[in-house]
Amino acid sequence: MHNKLINFDRRKFNKIFILNITFFLTTKFFLLKENFLNYYPKNIRKIKWILSKNDL
C-alpha cells in the first residue's frame, strides 16, 4: 500500500512537472519567437536591402 501510494505521487508529480515544463517552454517560444527563429533581430538591423525576387 505504501509503495502504491509512493508510485501514485511520483506519477502525479511527473505528470505535473512535464505539463509545467511544456507550458513554460511553449510560452517562452511564442513570446520570444522572433529571437528563436532569427538570432539577428530586426531592431538592430540598420540597412534596408535592395534585393531581387530570387534572393528572397
Partner: protein, 475 residues
Amino acid sequence: MILKDDEILKKKFQIVICGSGPAGISIALELEKKKIECLIIEAGDEFYSEKAQSRYKGEVYGNFPEDLSVLRLSQFGGTSGHWGGTCRTLDNYDFQNWPIKKSEIDPFLDSSCEILNIPKSFREKNINNNLKIIEFQESKVRFYEKYYEHIKRSKFINLALNCIFFNIKMSGNKVTELFLKSTKDISIKTNFLVLACGGIENSRLLLWFRENNKEISKDLPIGNYWMEHPFKKIGSGVGNFKAIRKNFENNFESFKNFRNWGNFTVSISPTQNLISQKNILNSAVFLTLHDRNNDNFKNNIKDLLCVAPSLSNHILDLFNKDLLCGITLSSSWEQNPQLENRITLSSSKDFSGIPLTKLNYQLSDLSLQTANEMVNQIGNYFIDKDLGRLGAYKTIENLSSFVSEAGYHHIGGTIMGKSKKSSVVDKNLKLHNIENLYICGSSVFPTGGHANPTLSIVQLSLRLGEHLIKRLKTI
C-alpha cells in the same frame, strides 16, 4: 604690394575687392593681366587669429550640423586654408535655373585649372540610362602659399590686411565711398566695389549695408535661399571584390583612395534622364570597397542573410574564395533652394560693430528622396551586373532621424537671376539697381549642383574680372 593705412589713403583705386579668398584673388589676377590696379581688403591677418575668427560666430536655428565659426577661415587666402581640394565642374543641367549657361563660364576653365593646379579632365561615362560615373580632380593649392609672395611683389594688386570693411556710402544708385576700420578709421573712394567674402559673409555684409543705405532695395531677397551640400554615409553592402573592380576597370576611378575610406572608390552621379524622370536633385555617390577588417562587413553579412536566405550559398562561396568585400556608399548632394533657409542679422554684434550672422536651416524631404533613389538605382545596377547587394541606411528614411554632416559648401544668399524680386544680382553679378556693386562667390549660385563649388567660383570670378575690364573702358 601690402599697404598700411596711410598708404591706402594716398592712392586711388578703380576697383576694390573685399575678401582675399579664391574669388577675390582670382578677380585680382585677371585684372593684373591687363595691368589694372586694384585693392584687396582682408579683415583677417596673414595667418589665423582668434580675434579675426570671432567675427564668424553666429546663431544657428534648425538642423545645421556645425558651429558657423569653424566652417570658414578669416585670414589671407580665406577658407582655402583648410579646404579639401576636391574639384569638378557643374553639369549642364545644373544651370537650368541660372540666368547664364554653362557655355558662358566654360571659356574660363583653362585659367581656373591653372590657378588650382589641376588637370582639365572631368570625364564622365554613362553606365546605364540612369547613372554615370564621373571624374573629380584634387587641388592641393593653398592660396596663401601660392599667391601671398606674388601679391606682395605685384605692382597692380594691393593688399590691406587686418582691415575691416565696415560700411558704404551711396549716392543715387552708386557706391561712392567705403568706410574701413583698421588701426584707425579710413574712408576711400572707388569706381567699382566687389564683395567676395564667402558664402555667408556676402549676405551678412550686404544686409548690414542695406540697413544703413536706403538706396539698396528692401525687396531684394538678400540672405534667402541659402544652401549647403548635405554629406553622409547613405548606404552599405557586400559584393564581389574582383567583379566590381573589373566592371569599373575600363572606366576611370575618381580617387585612388578617397579620404582613406577604402582601397577603391568610384563616383556615381545621376544622368539628366534620371533627374527629370524621378524629379530628384543632382548627387554624387562615392562607392568605396573595404577589406574584411571593416566593422560593417560582418554586420552586413549577418543583416543580408537574415532577409535574403537564398543568397547564403553564393555569399559563402565568395567568402571562402576570399572575394567578398564590404561596400560603403557616401554621398554629397544638392539641396533645393528654400525660402525658409536664410541668413539674417543677429542682435549681437562682432567687435567692429557689425551684427553677427543668424542662420535658419532645414533639410527638405526632397533631399532624402534623392539619397534613397540613388541607393536604389545603384543597388539595382549591382543586381543586374551580379556585383553584390546594397542597401540604404535606415537613418535616411525619415527627415526627423536624419542628421547631415556639413559639406562646408555655402551656397546662395545673394543669388543671381533675371527678376529683381527673386534674385539679388544680375547675370554679370552686379547688384540689381546699383551701378557699381558686384558680388562674387558661391553665394550667387541659384542652385548648387553636387560638385564642390570652388572651381566654379574661380570660373565666375575670372568672368567677372573680364566684365570689369570692359566696364572700365567705358568710363
